[in-house]
Symmetry: C2
Subunit: 472 residues, 2 copies
């Protein structure tokens, strides 16, 4: 609980209209996409970096923790107040400050919605590639904090590759500027990328300068069906090995297809696995690449291949793809969603390995995702009221991570570690690496103010609090 | 001076054939491209990460400093033993361990020569874009330590964008692994990019996994002449504003042309300024882009435009371009070479500003470089035996940096800070940012073992030692 004095001090910083501790409001900031909820003690909505800085200074003086929050769309608990504290929402810092058409850069506040920003830059012929599936609600600040990816990463890279410069409030309250808005810059250490993907534990992003590129002239979207996931996985590996650079290369397994086939039953239903493939470029180069993709897919025995025609058609297809994650709840009331990554040539082994894992543990493991960069969203579906099934699900996570790492992969491609993967951190990282990261955290945040209990298992956070206390 | 005991201990680690302290040998490791020399106390040539680690541990115990060195081709003194110490050369760690054609990655030791590596990957249809002009001698390890760029950065980005994973020996001797060899990965803090560009002050790179891309099918090289630098600068801005993505967009001013015109007098001579422009992609898309480039250049009054035909022709052109830096000594015996960057729309203001600066200080300032990303190599030519001219040169650097920063730029795009820019660091970075970087350095390297006196002005390094003691 926050004392009245601290609440009053926070109110002085942001104004009465930008702070709340009412139960109804707190509920709205208690969840994220993990379907767990933790009530914060208060929520503040600063509108300037100076306000953020003063809040952080106050936290250092008074000893309360701050949980930075974008849209709360994260999958690993990064924005959850797992041990109380003050949620610092960036939703009222949502101005696009500049779109520099001459230099192909833009400067935004952290609360800008990614999709809205993309619309704005595309209106002037520019392009901001990072496209997490949550983009219609997630924010640029949250995307940077998690180093979000998305379908287009296979060609264009992830959020990290588009962040040129940041304004950041450090855990001790100082406001710093990192990087430069120029295309190159190597003066001093790369604080920009140290902050990117640090999950709100090393600083609060209050402004970002992003790199834009010219919008591709032409995009061709294809839907390819296969008899089973093995054949689709082989197609993915073959496309990469053929040196084709699709702008999107998504895989969808049979469980996932079943959940979304209502969007377009004729097209989506019945297939054992699907690939959604996009190629882009000039009209000529996109056609050329599309023809090569078709050739590779037919060679590995695609059972159907069609090109989406017209904007509406493409939209329907992507609506179906984006619906997979929520639609999976048709299969079971609870899910564990992990975004493992393997080298692209190992997709086949991963997919068939996960299929076998589902069978041996009597679980539905629905897989879909960004196969083109080896990043698969595996969803273990279970019913938490069935204790035996829940235990099997937990075991399956462990074995899936072991499989992933044995294939040379990583346990998170774009969702981050947060709380849900903190206990698995040492499966991937060695003790020296973890110690170094903890040292960096302690050096920047000696009082442990910012987002405690994230990334690293934190003994100072109350026992059991990293486990969900509510599961919708 | 190194004690006999320490020398013997080093010899035990690397073997007698991998250490030297003979004067002749030390001389070979005393220089870099700044044309200054500082004699180290010894040079070691480890061949494994474990050897590197043991050397670093010894340094911590005995209190000597280590200066990591690739090819010594840096322009800012990063590999110079400015206060003695042991140079750790990576030249005997030069194996390409793996080129993974299925996953488009490669794993190399740090001493691999960049150009040789590029030849190897191109032989199998792959492409490693970073191409510092020093690439025929410089090493991947040095490129990563400095975050090298090059002409192709305008389209493909810099070294940072191609480093997936590293093996690094920390300043305290531990061997760590950073990143993953997969296309995505967000587990823990981004140590890979913290190391990239840290100029050998935070760790010694002993292995690197790099991202490759498919080799472009077709490259078209054009040479465009202009009456003066202003017209060429306008063409650069117009190409960027037209949303064209050349793979190379180099500018060469009249002073630089004069120094290299012997390579191809008919073509290079007489022009007021030149652009070398490359576009790449499929044959169709490259032709399409080349046509657009021609259109923009003619619209701003190019006085000549020709397309290089045949490999030999392209080679001659690039040989001329690469010869600029050494050829400038025809103008004056000494040079100060700075690689400033401005937003691309400000190239015109930078180039004309530098021209004016040269006039007002009665100095030759020869400019060329990667105009496409705003990165200009400005070379202040002077004679150090002329004290007045040397003083004017020093003043001009200061004013050039002020101009650059006033245009929203940075004082280094790809050369780093090293010793030559350390005293200007606070022109670009604020005290809080510098303090944070220093804290990171002290946290990772509490005894100041690795590359002391680089990036930051170091009071513990002997007075005056950051000034060149020899200037060839």
């Amino acid at each position: 609980m926050l004392s009245d004095n601290i609440y009053a001090a926070l109110e002085t910083v942001v104004g009465a209209e930008n702070i709340t501790a009412s139960k109804e409001d707190l509920l709205c900031y208690s969840y994220d996409a993990t379907n767990t909820t933790f009530m914060p003690d208060a929520v503040v909505f600063p509108v300037t970096a100076v306000e953020v800085s003063r809040i952080v200074e106050l936290a250092n003086r008074e000893g309360f923790s701050i949980i930075p929050r974008g849209a709360g769309s994260g999958f690993t608990g990064g924005s959850l107040a797992i041990a109380g504290g003050v949620v610092l929402s960036t939703e009222r810092m949502k101005q696009t400050l500049d779109i520099d058409e001459e230099n192909l850069t833009a400067t935004v506040e952290p609360g800008v919605i990614t999709w809205e920003f993309q619309q704005d830059v595309e209106a002037v012929g520019l392009f901001y590639p990072p496209d997490p599936t949550s983009k219609k609600i997630s924010t640029i600040g949250g995307n940077i904090a998690e180093c979000a990816g998305g379908p287009r990463a296979v060609k264009y890279g992830v959020t990290r590759d588009y962040v040129l410069a940041l304004e950041v409030v450090l855990p001790t309250g100082e406001i710093i500027k990192t990087g430069t808005s120029t295309m190159k810059g190597v003066v001093g250490y790369d604080l920009t990328r140290l902050m990117t993907g640090s999950e709100g534990t090393l600083g609060i992003i209050t402004k970002a300068t992003l790199r834009l590129i010219p919008k591709p002239q032409s995009v061709i979207t294809m839907l390819v069906s296969f008899a089973d996931i093995g054949a689709a996985a082989v197609a993915v590996a073959d496309i990469v090995a053929a040196r084709i650079q699709p702008s999107t290369l998504e895989i969808i397994d049979a469980f996932s297809i079943k959940c979304i086939e209502e969007y377009d039953p004729e097209r989506l239903g019945g297939a054992g696995a699907l690939l959604i493939i996009e190629v882009d470029g000039t009209e000529e180069s996109a056609s050329h690449e599309a023809a090569r993709v078709r050739e590779v897919c037919m060679a590995v025995g695609a059972t159907g291949l069609e090109t989406a025609t017209g904007k509406q058609d493409v939209k329907t297809l992507w609506k179906a793809r984006r619906s997979i994650s929520p639609a999976l709840f048709k299969l079971k009331p609870n899910k564990i969603n992990e975004d493992v990554v393997v080298p692209r040539s190992k997709i086949m082994e991963l997919m068939t390995g996960l299929e076998a894992l589902g069978k041996s543990h009597d679980l539905i493991i629905a897989c879909f995702g960004h196969a083109g960069d080896g990043n698969i969203h595996m969803n273990i579906m279970y019913d938490k009221t069935d204790a035996a099934e829940a235990a099997r699900a937990e075991e399956a996570v462990n074995e899936a991570f072991e499989l992933t790492l044995s294939l040379g992969g990583t346990i998170s491609g774009e969702h981050g570690v947060g709380t849900t993967k903190a206990k698995y951190l040492d499966m991937e990282l060695g003790p020296v690496e973890i110690a170094l990261m903890r040292t960096l955290k302690e050096t920047l945040d000696p009082k442990g103010i910012l987002n405690p209990g994230k990334i690293f298992m934190d003994e100072t956070v109350a026992e059991g609090s990293t486990a969900p206390n509510t599961n919708a």
